[in-house]
Symmetry: C2
Subunit: 195 residues, 2 copies
Amino acid sequence: MSGTAKQTLLERCLQHLQEVGFSDLSMRELAAAIGTSHRMLHYHFGSRDGLLVEIVNLMEARQRAALAALEADTSDLTELSRAFWKRVSDPALAPAERLFFEIYAHALNGRPWTAGFRESVVTAWTGPVTDMLTRHGLPPRQAGRAARLSLAVGRGLLLDLLATGDQAAVDDAAELFAELIARVEEPRDTPPSPR
Amino acid sequence: MSGTAKQTLLERCLQHLQEVGFSDLSMRELAAAIGTSHRMLHYHFGSRDGLLVEIVNLMEARQRAALAALEADTSDLTELSRAFWKRVSDPALAPAERLFFEIYAHALNGRPWTAGFRESVVTAWTGPVTDMLTRHGLPPRQAGRAARLSLAVGRGLLLDLLATGDQAAVDDAAELFAELIARVEEPRDTPPSPR
DNA sequence: ACCGTGATGTACCAAACGGTACAGCTACCA
DNA sequence: TGGTAGCTGTACCGTTTGGTACATCACGGT
């Protein structure tokens, strides 16, 4: 086994970054926290940015896997939305999501090591979710915009939940969206918007 | 005029932080960028965290003012939602919003200087928005959850917009939500969810 | 027995960091 | 005219940073 030592190290780095973030964390502090030396981190990852690139890649792979595992066992859009929220709002995922939003912030400031993240952070989700919604009966015209909205709802509610910890209130808002999403293809009771 | 010099300095700091972020920015770099010395920043703000606290306070005040300026000139929920999104998606606000999300990420990691931010980042909005929705005819039971959902939608779509720059696609998703939000008080065509 | 390869410890580097002591400067008020 | 309060530049402090040179260790193949 060649990459095992490096993989183990990367895993422990990821776990610790999920606990405390990385913005104010030096290579030395990180190394000490996971029981190695900063010399080892530089040996395996080359530089601080090199480490962060591998962390981002690992997180992307995990998210893709989690997304792929979201196969639908219901044809009801409301139930699908509920199941989706139940998965992502699992408290066990909170540390990973905190780290996700921290990386997101750095990506918005154009940090070079976030290049891959920036390109896939939205499209990696809207594609599969659009397909899923189409399979659930939404016309293609609606599936794309509903996917984009659903993604925004998920991330917006997660931001709320992580900041307030008010599980009940955020769950309630998620439930409202689950009820609303089922009405995407229903006719409106008012004429199309003026102007 | 007592606080003028400090206020001017703070203003220029805010502007520069909106351009490049603060996570990887030292007091010296910031000072040089805005044409002063790091000595001055320490004199006026005491420490790096002291500066960040004042930046956060200033941004909160601006956001409160912007929220208060959002008076509704329509009783149509859909139009209200459209107007809301049109305001916050103004490209001129993008730098301020990038900085907002960067502070948010640090708040999620429990940085002490974000204490005030953490307490108000959700509640400062859900309160007024709930009132606004109530005034627009939503029953209290629905207004609260609709406000929380609307806030999440706004922030989630903003994250998308800032990362992808795909104004048209994000506007389209926002329009879908504007159409859906008007149906909150409509009766459903299916019986209440089982279980 | 030998050697090469991956892994690791020690010890160091120049640069930058946050923060501060101290000596001035300007300007207004008595 | 003489302070006194706010502001600023210089020059420094000890510490930490990302990164590296070098010597060493464990060990599997030959």
